[in-house]
């Protein structure tokens, strides 16, 4: 972490403390500690920032011996004393200039309030706002009234807002899935709408898409209104406590989804790489371009791309619907029941092995892999070769690396300094690189 990145990261922390943390504190002790955190962050950011530019302190104008002599009250002769005075004055003037430059910088930083551009996008939208919007959007349901708005925090690329409403047909529960104004993945919700529509019609467990709002001026990004489905998220990107029965149902859902005839469903050419001769190669090429354009050069990514290209001939040119982010964090469930597969922004045409590999390491902790694959095959899924498993294991980390590396780049280049971008770019990215190095070492040593 060089000093520029460090400075910016510290500033992101500082702004987050001021904007998000301090206003939520109520106890005096917590407030005073938060003030101290603020103070030390501002100090660190300033010192790291000026470390290079403010210059090093000048060496002491008095020698240790001279100083000790003064201490022991051995008066220097008059000439020497005048000389010493002169040296002290010169030194003090330089020190004053150097130090006051730092303190002025600090004072500036301490005044920085929540003025920098945000991508947290979690500003509250009042229920009156949504009531008015829905009445205009659906004039036939003019009696609709939004009774509650809940903003779900988190969400790396998309925001989620829950609406409870009373309509002419009784109560309703809507999930708004929105684009953030600054988008780390570059895919809008407008892309996923027809895909989810097709899946819903085909009977695959997804939430019912109710409408698409393409007008980005309404809430600062396009959004989809979904019917809320029962259940809860069955895991995170890193862990899950889903029961084995649920995992089997997840396998079955993947199989049904992979069995969808995308051309018949009318999404074949809407899907990314849906018209490519070799969808997997096309995907790899696109991401390699993204990597070159948007991600700071990283040696392990270079090596992984090279390895993937070397394996490509062993991977077929399948063209099925792939979810692309098929982890348990995108599943909803209630006990064993699988209620819905969410987040279709990364879906595309490709090899189903990609989805199966995506959360393999986590699934294996909850259900033996053989049983998972048995459930998948029992519902129409095809077997997957070892090399495809390896290929897509590396692919997963490369893909995540490109997406998170984009945030690293945004942060480095100063496009966005929000804490969310900083954590993805500076924390998640290196974690993924660690996974990638481990996997690549494993597969290449065999």
């Amino acid at each position: 972490m060089d000093s520029k990145v460090l400075t910016e990261a510290l500033r992101s922390l500082l702004l987050a403390v001021r904007q998000d943390i301090k206003p939520d504190l109520s106890s005096a002790q917590a407030q005073s500690r938060a003030d101290m955190i603020d103070m030390v962050l501002a100090r660190l950011a300033t010192e790291v920032d000026v470390a290079g530019s403010a210059g090093d302190p000048a060496p002491s104008p008095v020698s240790k011996e001279e100083l000790d002599a003064l201490h022991k009250a051995v008066a220097p002769d008059i000439n020497k004393e005048a000389e010493l005075h002169g040296k002290i004055a010169t030194f003090a003037a330089a020190e004053q200039a150097r130090r006051s430059a730092i303190e002025n910088r600090l004072a500036e930083l301490s005044k920085v309030a929540a003025v920098e551009e945000q991508s947290s996008d979690n500003k509250p939208l009042p229920k009156e706002f949504f009531t008015e919007y829905l009445r205009k959007k659906f004039p036939e349901k003019a009696a609709t009234e939004v009774t509650k708005v809940t903003v779900i925090p988190g969400g790396r690329s998309k925001g989620t807002i829950l609406l409870d409403l009373e309509g002419p047909d009784g109560p309703d529960a809507i999930v708004i899935r929105r684009d953030f104004s600054v988008n780390t993945t570059g895919v809008s919700v407008t892309y996923e709408y027809p895909i989810i529509e097709a899946l819903f019609k085909a009977g695959v467990a997804v939430p019912e898409p109710r409408w698409l709002e393409e007008d980005t001026s309404v809430i600062g990004g396009a959004f989809i209104g979904f019917s809320r489905i029962p259940g809860k998220a069955m895991g995170t990107l890193f862990q899950s406590d889903a029961p084995p029965g649920f995992i089997k149902n997840f396998a079955a859902t993947l199989a049904r989804m992979h069995a969808l005839d995308i051309d018949k469903a009318g999404i074949g050419d809407k899907l990314k790489w849906g018209s490519a001769e070799h969808p997997v190669r096309a995907m790899l090429d696109d991401y390699y371009q993204d990597y070159i354009n948007d991600v700071p050069p990283t040696a392990i990514m270079d090596a992984a791309f090279a390895w993937l290209y070397l394996q490509l001939d062993k991977i077929g040119n399948q063209r099925t619907l792939v979810h692309g982010d098929a982890g348990l964090h995108n599943t909803m469930g209630d006990g064993d029941t699988f209620t819905g597969m969410l987040d279709w922004e990364f879906s595309h045409a490709g090899d189903p092995a990609e989805d199966l590999t995506y959360h393999k390491h986590l699934i294996e902790k909850l259900l033996p892999w053989d049983e998972f694959m048995a459930a998948y095959k029992a519902n129409g899924g095809q077997d997957v070769s070892e090399i495809r498993l390896q290929f897509f294991t590396i692919w997963r980390s490369v893909l995540l690396g490109v997406m998170m590396g984009r945030a690293t780049n945004m942060f480095y280049k100063g496009i966005n300094h929000d804490l969310r971008i900083a954590t993805i770019g500076l924390n998640s990215f290196p974690r993924i690189m660690n996974d990638l190095a481990r996997e690549l070492a494993r597969f290449t040593q065999a």
Partner: protein, 445 residues
């Protein structure tokens, strides 16, 4: 600040965030953001800590080679095997390096703040104090402590407020006690006779009730004072006191400075009270501590040299000096000065020290001439230019030395609390800046 120091500071921030801030958060968004802050602090601390021992990296692939693979220029079989080998070697070495880093990160993330840091507050059951008081006042067998309140703050001393009920009714007693690890190294036992002499001389100080030299309850000495109404009238850096209050403060300082330390017998109890030249003895004692315990800074060296060169122009006055005479140590009650507190740094010396100490903050509410007029009208002496210069530099030097000592506590691992970090890394540079400014101003004359 090197990478190691920065990493340690970030960890102090992390612990403060976890221990003090997170539990107080209620909104989901704030909690989520706090998690992100936590995560990023851990990451930054780890990377900085590891930045100094990187080790040799295995050379990576040439970009040319990757580009060739992308454009599907199939390498021949022999070349392909070579490339696979390079990839394999590189992946193995990266795996090792990155695994170590993540393991370190997990370790730092799991690390707990060391216990026993001064961040912990004093919590003493009131029954213990009740038992103590009954033993101390056997003629009041029903005496009891109805409440104990910890007064937060205090750099080196702890403060408790006791509400008692006894035969003479209810009472509020302030207990000022020594912490086990003291920033200043002066016990409350030192200030007791000073406060007593002041109280007897009619200076507005809280009435000292008794001194407990070694208490089983608090683990150290404490002094009991009668509570005085009022609240602190400022900080070390600012005040919102009225001009009238500042004038009253000037009069109180004049009163303090006019106490005859020899007649009252205080001189033998005060630090440097018996020195030939108390001001010189004071500079010497700080200089010796600096040379003995603290890292040398060119600015501090220079400031000491300058002070020594001025010392002949400073008289050897032997007044009672408060030593930390800022408005942060005054209590105001409905605009009136009700008490001057905190006598632990009181010593024999030159009154100009106290005046220069508070000058900057006082001037923000009252012109200095008016403050000095009030001081002189109440019996205080005028200050010479030389005295002003000397004690202005002395003030920032002395505060810088104290902060440097605090930073030493942090770097040596004695106390890694955020409060210590904040003093050592944020307050210190402020005082050094002040010192550089003062020294530049006065040495240019």
């Amino acid at each position: 600040m090197n990478a190691q120091e920065t990493a340690e500071l970030l960890q102090s921030l992390l612990f403060a965030l976890r221990d003090d801030v997170k539990p107080d958060l209620t909104s989901a968004n704030a909690r989520h953001r706090a998690e992100l802050i936590d995560m990023l602090l851990v990451r930054m601390a780890t990377e900085l800590e590891s930045s100094e021992n990187k080790g040799d990296a295995t050379p990576a692939l040439s970009p040319q080679l990757v580009d060739n693979l992308v454009s599907a220029k199939a390498a021949d079989v022999y070349q392909q095997a070579q490339v696979e080998k390079t990839i394999s070697a590189f992946a193995a070495s990266e795996k090792k390096r990155l695994n170590n880093l993540e393991a370190r990160l997990a370790e730092i993330s799991a690390r707990q703040a060391a216990t026993g840091g001064s961040g912990e507050e004093l919590h003493i059951p009131k029954e213990q104090f009740t038992a103590y008081l009954r033993k101390r006042f056997p003629d009041d067998p029903d005496l009891e402590v109805s409440a104990i309140t910890v007064i937060p703050g205090g750099r080196s001393k702890g403060t408790l407020l006791l509400n008692t009920r006894g035969k003479d009714g209810t009472r509020e007693i302030v207990i000022r006690l020594d912490f086990s690890s003291m920033v200043t190294g002066v016990s409350v036992a030192y200030e007791f006779p000073v406060a007593t002499a002041l109280y007897e001389a009619g200076v507005p100080v809280p009435e000292p009730l008794w001194l407990e030299e070694k208490s089983d309850i608090t683990g150290g000495a404490f002094v009991a004072y009668a509570k005085v109404p009022g609240s602190a009238m400022g900080t070390l850096f600012g005040t919102d006191a009225s001009p009238e209050f500042a004038k009253e403060y000037a009069r109180v300082l004049a009163q303090v400075h006019s106490i005859d330390v020899v007649q009252t017998g205080l001189s033998s109890k005060l630090t440097w009270g018996n020195a030939d030249n108390p001001a010189r003895a004071m500079v010497n004692s700080f200089y010796e501590r600096y040379r003995r315990e603290l890292p040398r800074l060119p600015l501090l060296d220079t400031a000491f040299a300058w002070l020594y060169l001025q010392l002949d122009k400073i008289g050897n006055r032997r007044a009672l000096v408060h030593g930390d005479a800022g408005l942060h140590n005054t209590l105001g009650d409905e605009g009136k000065l009700s008490a001057l507190l905190d006598w632990e740094l009181a010593h024999a010396g030159h009154p100009a020290e106290d005046l220069c100490y508070c000058k900057q903050v006082v001037e923000s509410v009252l012109p200095w001439e008016e403050f000095m007029r009030a001081y002189q009208d109440a019996g205080g002496c005028a200050l010479s230019q030389g005295e002003m210069a000397f004690f202005s530099v002395w003030r920032s030097l002395q505060l810088a030395i104290q902060c440097l000592g605090t930073r030493q506590m942090f770097t040596s691992g004695l106390d890694k609390d955020l409060r210590i970090a904040a003093i050592g890394y944020n307050t210190l540079p402020k005082f050094l800046n002040m010192l550089a400014t003062d020294l530049a101003t006065f040495s240019a004359r």
